[in-house]
Amino acid sequence: MNKVVKNPQEALQGLQSDMTLMLGGFGLCGIPENSIAEMVKMGVTGLTCISNNAGVDDFGLGLLLQGKQIKKMISSYVGENDEFERQMLSGELEVDLIPQGSLAERCRAGGAGIPAFYTPAGYGTEVAEGKEVREFNGKPHILESALTADFAIVKAWKGDTEGNLIFKATARNFNPMMAMAGKITVAEVEELLPAGSLDPNEIHTPGIFVQRIFQGETFEKRIEQKTVRQK
């Protein structure tokens, strides 16, 4: 099953304004930077983006925020992006902040056919407002619903023509769950290989979850906080 497309233009065909998207990555680590650059060019607007963060002011999803292309963010963390915080406080941007673990599990549930689940995270806080509360083993939990998206856009280290993916180090983060939850899942990879090149034992995301795959032309892989020690 050949899922290879030439470039991000082809990979994002059908992506339109007002759609709901999932974008993998944590901070700037493991983000689909080629696809984001393409979305800036496409000029789509009114997007709802499900992503743990929104990048920094001038990289990652921050680029779409700058261009006012995003209507709503569903995230767990705003820090490190002044424009995100500014648009949120001024009310220009709708923001649904949810605990990181609940965000991950809601994506996983969306891809796994589980409509909702109970979690203790957020009980007694703003996050619980309007949500069903139920006790299990004497402890209160809140009901969280699954998330899905029109497009899930993920970034992997290696992929093959079948859409099988392997991620590198902590660049895995949200990518595998989001890959499961997209109606159309686009994977951009650093290295695209023929089927049979990857060891089936080592696949993180099986190809069934991926509809389109391409090898990114370049990856800047910007580092958000370079911290080092002396030799």
């Binding site: 767990s76 990181q100 703003e126 991620f167 180090a169 902590t170 595998p176």
Partner: protein, 218 residues
């Protein structure tokens, strides 16, 4: 004399036990890794997806794909493992992590914690903090006793939006070590040279003070 951030981290490190998996939050908690007592083996979990987090890399050896939850470049220890965010929070919610250390803007005598939002002024987001505090058996808050304006952060009730309810077990500040139980702060230790009176003056919440309050041994 009150402790600096490193002093707080050093005192928290004494709470570590051999064989524990530990999650360290951003800020002062991160520094705890620099003070692991000799002969103790602990493994650090960072919720973005690594077990066995090591120290910062040497200059020139940093890898953009290898960071901690504070987005800082890190290294992996021998025997480390990487995983996705759902698995990471399964470790946390499933109580496989023995200790969580995190920062806070406010803590109440009931063990409530607030650390993600100041309405109308500042929104950082909760990140993984709500999942961590809702599930961890053992939560230590590392923070300064008062905020920059000199107002106590150890309160009767939190005034800011909560991160979690009745979850904090211990607070370690620049002035004191306190346990939270029976809806009160219990003063256990004071920082070197800090008097009980100073701690009482800096604590808004109700506090139980024993006759003898030992000094921290650092």
């Amino acid at each position: 004399m009150s402790l600096d951030k490193n002093g707080i981290a050093q005192r928290i490190a004494q709470e570590l036990r051999d064989g524990w998996y530990v999650n360290l939050g951003i800020g002062i908690p991160t520094l705890v890794a620099n003070f692991i007592p000799e002969g103790l083996e602990v493994e650090f979990q960072s919720e973005n997806g690594i077990l066995g987090m090591g120290p910062f890399p040497f200059e020139g050896e940093e890898d953009a794909d290898l960071i901690n939850a504070g987005k800082q470049t890190i290294t992996a220890m021998k025997g480390a493992a990487y995983f996705d965010s759902a698995t990471s929070f399964a470790m946390i919610r499933g109580q496989h992590v023995q200790l969580t250390v995190l920062g806070a803007m406010e803590v109440s005598q009931n063990g409530d914690i607030a650390n993600w939002k100041i309405p109308g002024k500042m929104v950082k987001g909760m990140g993984g903090a709500m999942d961590l505090v809702a599930s961890a058996e053992n939560i230590i808050v590392a923070m300064m006793h008062a905020n920059k304006a000199g107002v106590s952060k150890l309160l009767k009730d939190c005034s800011l939006p909560l991160t979690g309810v009745a979850c904090v077990k211990k607070v370690i500040t620049n002035l004191a070590v306190m346990e939270i139980k029976d809806h009160k702060f219990h003063l256990l230790e004071r920082a070197p040279g800090v008097t009980v009176e100073e701690i009482i003056a800096a604590t808004e919440g109700e506090m139980v003070v024993p006759d003898h309050v030992p000094e921290m041994q650092l």
